[in-house]
Amino acid sequence: MTAHSTSPAPEPRERQERLALLARAPEELLEAAWQELPGKPRLTPLRPPETGLLMVRGRAGGTGRQFHLGEVAVTRAAVCLPDGTAGYGYVLGQRSRHAELAACFDAMAADGSWAAEVQRAVLDPAARHVEAEDAAARQRAEATRVDFSTLVREG
């Protein structure tokens, strides 16, 4: 149902998944992982965190013509490693520190010497957190599943 297949190159799934996890994980999880990582690389800000607005689009009837539903705040940040590898962070809301941490981890994950460590310390716990959150919500919804029986004769 998504209609964003116009980008020319195939979308780099791994990075999309990483950025999604970094955005969805709680800031505290990223901060704790950051504090615990020993001997971090030198990261230079490419762009200080900046908050702005994105206009959210919906579709008429869920599948039809696009329309503008309203806006969300988004905070973005960009950093780079000494070798120039760039990392980006984009998170919903006014969350400078969160966006900055996401950008740092994104850059490090793109670097061979850090990738495994970032996976272990951040991305794996973030994935577990997000899955647990989704599972808990699904279970709460399931407990409200209803089977109405009709008391009058149908038809």
Partner: protein
């Protein structure tokens, strides 16, 4: 027209100081913190986000606190703040079909693929005041149950389209999308501009209009086909990456309404539909939006326009609470000059009438 005036600075400062003092209230009572408002006054936060047209619970909570719970004032504050932030772009269209459902009801079908889940709803509650809330409220945690492995949920509109009972909503992403925050609304409005205006519109105004259609003022027999609440993914394409990136999730409410049309102009018998989508758990808003969206299809469906809810100029021109409150409340600004002119006219007319009554000049 109101007149520009000078002076009164001290009085205005003191009035605002009193207002802030009143907002805080008795210093012996704990102050509300923003997390409390966000979490425990969530439906008010959602309404402010929805009409403020900015889905940010933290900002909406600040607005509500500052406005002392006055929803309209909080909406105004949020709209004003929004003007201070740069627009960085737009999101990809939300895929509500992929929503992680907290709630999904299909009032028109008892059994439907995916079934029905009530979610956190006020429906079926007895609306009795719960005085235990005067004390410390510590309810048991929400119940949980293991979902079935096959949880596929088919939107009911999809079933109805397959059966040929209603027309599909087809995407045409080559068309530009109207943005009434950038360009003034032009009439007749496309459905894109109409849905945007309705999404920002005042819930009370839209509720009254939706109700009027149900009572027969330009209305149709209406059914709520499907109502959903849950989380959707928000993604956008950053310039520097060139592919869509998920930036988080947000809760939305969605509603499809159906109206049976026995002889619908040249389209033959079938179901017409209306659509509503709103930030947060704003189900009543989504439903009113869907009903009014359907009523406003009158022109494009060739129906006779006979009631306010079908009149695009009337509805879209008056649904915005910030515009409406602004125009109403400007009456409180000094109108001395205008009013003096009115009085001078009235006095002159009265004097003339008095002279006429005295049997003065005959025509």
């Amino acid at each position: 027209m109101y007149a520009t005036v000078k002076g009164g600075e001290q009085a205005i400062d003191n009035a605002h100081r009193w207002l802030a003092d009143q907002r805080r209230g008795d210093r012996g009572v704990a102050e509300l913190d923003l997390a409390q408002i966000r979490q425990q006054m969530g439906r008010a936060v959602d309404r402010v986000m929805s009409e403020g047209s900015l889905a940010d619970p933290e900002l909406a909570a600040v607005a509500l606190k500052q406005a002392q719970g006055d929803i309209n004032e909080a909406v105004f504050l949020l709209r004003a703040y929004r003007n201070t932030l740069p627009r960085l772009g737009r999101t990809e269209p939300l895929d509500t079909g992929a929503m992680r459902l907290d709630r999904r009801i299909t009032p028109v079908f008892k059994d439907t693929p995916g079934g029905q889940m009530l979610g956190p709803t006020f429906d079926y509650s007895h609306r009795l005041l719960d005085f235990s809330l005067a004390g410390n409220d510590d309810p048991p945690p929400a119940a949980e149950a293991e979902p079935a492995a096959d949880g596929a949920v088919t939107p009911i509109t999809e079933q109805l389209v397959r059966e040929g009972l209603t027309e599909p909503d087809l995407a045409d992403d080559t068309q530009p999308v109207a943005d009434i925050t950038r360009e003034p609304l032009r009439l007749p409005a496309g459905r894109d501009a109409r849905l945007q205006a309705l999404a920002r519109g005042d819930e009370g105004f839209l509720l009254g209009l939706a109700y009027s259609t149900q009572r027969g003022h330009g209305g149709h027999k209406v059914y709520a086909g499907e109502v959903r609440q849950g989380e959707v993914t928000v993604s956008f394409v950053p310039e520097e990456l060139g592919f869509p990136v998920e930036i988080g999730r947000m809760t939305v409410s969605e509603c499809h309404v159906l109206t049976p049309e026995q002889a619908d102009s040249d389209r033959g018998p079938g179901l017409a539909r209306g659509y509503g989508l709103a930030f947060g758990r704003s189900e009543r808003k989504a439903m009113t939006m869907a009903l009014v969206d359907r009523a406003l299809q009158a022109r494009e469906r060739g129906e006779r326009i006979q009631a306010p809810a079908q009149d695009e100029e009337y509805v879209l021109g008056h649904l915005d609470s910030v515009h409406a409150a602004g125009f109403l409340e400007h009456l409180k600004l000094p109108h001395y000059v205008d009013f003096q002119a009115e009085l001078a006219t009235l006095r002159a007319l009265q004097q003339r009438n008095d002279r006429d009554d005295d049997g003065g000049d005959q025509p």
